[in-house]
């Protein structure tokens, strides 16, 4: 049934494009709600998560032995769920898009559909097709509906994604030429020579890591997030960055365990540099959206650190962090891009204190406080559950790096608090209260959905970990 998330989203995208303007957002909403519902039901109903269950498998291109092959396990279900949640809230937060509405939702749905496709594919060609499919819709979303420096941000993001894709393709084709198949399960059983793995792993892993925002290839992320429209930033941070991390986990590490073993130290060091560096840069930003953009890079550093531990706990925590960060980043971008920027038309942290937004739009302040608490890793929210799991896993592999990453968490708290106080709790300089539009119902529903999700995962992390850990335990690269 989960395959219908894919079909529904693409069919919905085509209908949105052709439908009358007045219906566009309703069709988009119906599509993403249906997708999210299917993902949630399958997530709750599936009982055997540990091994990949084939859903569809039909021959597609016999000349290369390519099958149309979809399969799920606990991790792909988790990722499908976050895709669904982010999709619903991103449509709700773009309820007020008026300019070329049909096209906007068309591209939005293509990003969502492509992401479902990546998480469900069990054939490398299919996987790569969906992975590359997401690139162009992102470009259009940013270049057409974006703000600050949108042409530059869109092009940079696209070229970076495509560059990462080219690296992946080289290693992927080399794996095909050696292993003789595009089937993921079959390839993961093939023993590539260690010499081969030594160059193929980094080529593929860093190709994926471009999208996951690894330092020093992360620079597309802040500019892209800032340039994107609100829904675009939410999808970018919520799902698209996960595509990279998921690919690194599912393909690169799975196919080349020896290569991973040889390179994991380097990955861990780059990950920790990313955590600390991005947090330090976020501390100095004037544009509120840049603060959130760099916080995304910092949080994704935890994902990469978790993967690099090669431990059950670390890697499981990394997947949990992917989920958690998808929700938190979505919330933060929604508050900054939709609730604040579209009302005040500024994101400047030197101007915002004068507006005293905490009193003007209290719901936004409330959401932002909770979201930043989750981002800081305060117990009870999903961020804490994920990061503590990663650090526990990493403690056994890299104790020194854990201490540095911990310092990064302190920096995160610092920049989140700085942003919070400046944006919402400054002293009002004008006497009359500015008349901002009240927070709409669509915004309230979207924010509540994400807030509930982060609380649910924070309080009951086992809801996800029970489905993630059995898969991780079967991975060939466990230390």
């Amino acid at each position: 049934m989960i395959a219908y998330t894919l079909y529904l989203t693409f069919v919905g995208a085509v209908i949105v494009l052709l439908a009358p303007r007045a219906l566009a957002r309703w069709i988009a909403l119906a599509t993403v709600v249906a997708g999210c519902g299917i993902a949630a039901i399958t997530f709750l109903q599936t009982s055997d998560f540990a091994r990949a269950q084939t859903i569809v498998r039909v021959p597609w291109i016999p000349a290369l032995g390519i099958d149309y092959h979809l399969a799920v396990d606990g991790i792909s279900l988790t990722m499908a769920l976050i895709t669904g949640l982010t999709a619903v809230s991103s449509v709700l937060f773009s309820w007020n898009v008026e300019w070329r509405q049909n096209e906007f939702f068309f591209w939005l749905l293509l990003v969502i559909g492509g992401s479902y496709g990546v998480f469900l594919s069990a054939d490398l060609f299919l996987f790569y097709l969906f992975y590359e499919l997401v690139i162009v819709p992102k470009y259009f979303l940013i270049a057409t509906w974006g703000s600050t420096n949108k042409a530059y941000g869109a092009m940079k993001l696209t070229l970076y994604s495509f560059f990462g894709g080219a690296l992946i393709l080289v290693a992927l084709l080399a794996a095909y030429a050696t292993g003789g198949s595009f089937d993921l399960q079959q390839l993961s059983r093939f023993h590539f020579s260690s010499q081969f793995q030594f160059w193929a792993f980094p080529t593929m892993f860093f190709g994926f890591a471009v999208l996951a925002g690894i330092w020093p290839l992360h620079t597309w992320a802040p500019t892209g997030h800032v340039a994107a429209p609100t829904a675009g930033s939410m999808l970018l941070a919520g799902i698209v960055m996960k595509l990279g991390a998921y690919g690194a986990f599912r393909v690169a590490m799975n196919l080349f365990p020896q290569g991973f073993y040889a390179w994991r130290g380097a990955v861990a060091i780059l990950a920790v540099i990313g955590i600390v560096y991005a947090a330090a840069v976020a501390l100095r930003q004037r544009d509120l959206k840049f603060v959130i953009g760099y916080s995304s890079v910092s949080h994704m550093g935890f994902v990469l650190l978790g993967l690099a531990t090669a431990q059950v706990l670390g890697a499981g925590g990394a997947v949990l962090q992917m989920f958690s960060h998808g929700i938190i980043a979505g919330l933060l971008f929604a508050v900054v891009g939709r609730m604040i920027y579209e009302r005040t038309h500024t994101r400047d942290l030197t101007v915002l204190p004068g507006l005293a937004l905490g009193r003007a739009i209290p719901f936004a302040a409330f959401t932002f406080v909770l979201a930043s608490a989750a981002a800081m890793g305060i117990p009870g929210f999903s961020g804490f559950a994920a990061e503590i799991t990663i650090l526990l896993g990493a403690w056994r592999a890299y104790p020194a790096l854990v201490i540095i990453a911990g310092a990064g968490m302190v920096l995160t708290a610092a920049f989140m608090l700085r942003a919070l106080t400046k944006a919402f709790f400054g002293e009002s300089t004008t006497s009359e209260a500015a008349g901002y539009d009240p927070i709409s119902n669509a915004e309230k529903i979207g924010a509540s959905l994400l807030l509930c999700a982060t609380l649910a995962v924070g309080l009951f992390p086992n809801l996800l970990l029970d489905r993630i850990l059995p898969v991780v335990q079967r991975m060939p690269w466990l230390n």
Binding site: I61, A63, L129, E132, V136, A151, A166, L169, L173, A177
Partner: protein, 479 residues
């Protein structure tokens, strides 16, 4: 073997000849029948395609002079389809003597059909000349247009030099082998070692055909012809002429020269001409993409990108055996369809806006959504993005190249070239979709025939991306 059999297997060509004469006759009869020229031409081409399908699948008339095989029939039909599109474009074009133009187009089509269906040097050469001569005239058809006259003269000078090279090379090879039949040459060549005379012959033939496919450094004509000639001519040169040239190049290399021994084994290449071809491919990809980067005119941009695409397509010919040739044929065919479509849009915009620089396409989305959508599909397919045909075409080429020994460097050059090309295609796509039209520009008037042709081409590019096996399954190579 008697003349009746010859007539039977030459029937498709005979039908096209009769149609061409019919078009000329129709034109010199009553004035109000003149508008029927295009209709007659399309009917004749459809009839010829029907005859191709009705003929026996396998036959060999006069030892290779005319060969019927599933592959040849397929490509005869492909060439007829290209001719049909060109006829449809000619309908809207401002041409002084329309009937003569269409008759010339049909004569060129006969040449293509002969090239495609022959495995004998003399016939191939006659076919090449029969294609080239009408194309020279068609390039300079608008006598008052300075750009057209310049393009025609350039095409004629370069083209006749290339023909001279081919003919000289063929005469050398004939002198050594005493036969003009490809398979017989192959046997003779296998029995002897590499001599300077043979090398000279091979190099001359390859250089002559490299001109036809616009591979660097024999590419200098391409951009001028694409820019200066009437759009149907440019579309036909970029598609039909190129596809036939690739087919015949592959056939000559594999059947006649397949056993040419290299004087040194270089990078594991088998045949002696491989290093030469690899050099052509690498040079084409680099020169084509870098030159395209700075173009301001869309037709010129397509011209230089054509050079780069010739480079990618050559990769398949470097892989010994059927698979590489299949990849080449698949890629060049979908490339042909894509470029025919792109030139259709360029023709319409050029005719109604008065120019074809990239600026003239600004806001095309607001002036004609269908045209804008189709052009985006064509350009993104050229860039190699899923789910369009160009994505699988490139993927397939790179996959087979990767399986051959020592081709990694060419694949890496190809991918780097793709990254560069994505940039310039995206700039055009952004101009179409994001920029607003310049003032005073109204909606484009598009005739229903042109709408239909463009829609079908766009749909074909999408469909062949989703189900490449529709075409791939039919390319059965028999040697």
């Amino acid at each position: 073997m008697n003349y009746l059999t010859l007539l039977k297997f030459a029937l498709p060509e005979a039908v096209v000849t009769a149609t061409a004469l019919g078009v000329l006759g129709l034109h010199s009869s009553r004035p109000r029948w003149r508008d029927l020229c295009e209709l007659l031409a399309v009917v004749g081409l459809l009839l010829a395609a029907g005859v191709v399908l009705a003929l026996p699948a396998h036959a060999d008339v006069f030892r290779g002079t005319l060969v019927a095989s599933p592959l040849n029939s397929l490509f005869e039909i492909v060439c007829l389809a290209f001719a049909m599109c060109a006829v449809a474009y000619a309908r809207g074009e401002r041409l002084a003597h329309r009937a003569e133009y269409i008759a010339l187009l049909l004569f060129a089509t006969i040449g293509l059909m002969l090239i495609v269906s022959s495995e004998e040097f003399l016939m191939i050469f006659i076919g090449l000349e029969l294609t080239s001569l009408p194309l020279y005239v068609m390039t300079a058809f608008n006598k008052m247009d300075r750009r057209g006259a310049e393009a025609g003269l350039k095409y004629f000078l370069f083209g006749s030099t290339a023909s001279a090279f081919i003919l000289f090379g063929l005469s050398l090879i004939y002198g050594m082998c005493g036969t003009t039949v490809l398979s017989a040459i192959g046997e003779k060549v296998a029995a002897q070692t590499m001599t300077p005379l043979l090398a000279a012959g091979v190099v001359m033939v390859i250089a002559g055909l490299a001109f036809k496919i616009a591979a660097a450094p024999f590419h200098l004509w391409a951009a001028d012809i694409y820019e200066g000639s009437p759009a149907p001519t440019a579309a036909f040169i970029a598609s039909g002429s190129k596809v036939a040239a690739f087919l015949v190049l592959g056939r000559i290399l594999f059947i006649a020269f397949g056993s040419v021994q290299g004087s040194a084994t270089w990078h594991g290449f088998v045949a002696g001409w491989s290093p030469l071809l690899a050099l052509l491919a690498a040079l084409s990809i680099v020169v084509g993409n870098i030159t395209a980067l700075v173009q301001k005119n869309l037709a010129r941009l397509l011209g230089y990108s054509a050079v780069a695409h010739a480079g990618y397509t050559l990769l398949g010919l470097l892989v010994p055996g059927h698979e590489g040739f299949t990849a080449t044929l698949f890629y060049t065919t979908i490339y042909g369809f894509t470029l025919v479509g792109a030139f259709g849009v360029v023709a319409l915009v050029r005719r109604q806006t008065g120019g074809d620089t990239i600026r003239d396409f600004a806001g095309l989305r607001f002036r004609s959504p269908l045209l804008a959508g189709c052009l985006a599909v064509f350009l993104l397919s050229l860039a190699g993005l899923p789910p369009l045909a160009g994505f699988f075409g490139k993927f397939y080429l790179f996959a087979v190249a990767m399986r051959a020994n020592g081709m990694l460097w060419l694949v890496v050059i190809g991918l780097a070239g793709s990254l560069v090309s994505l940039y310039y295609y995206l700039i055009v796509v952004r101009t179409i979709f994001v920029d607003l039209p310049t003032e005073g520009v109204t909606t484009l008037q598009v005739a229903w025939t042109e709408k239909l042709v463009l829609f079908l081409l766009g749909a074909a590019v999408l469909l062949l991306g989703l189900a490449p096996n529709l075409l791939l399954g039919r390319i059965e190579i028999s040697f």
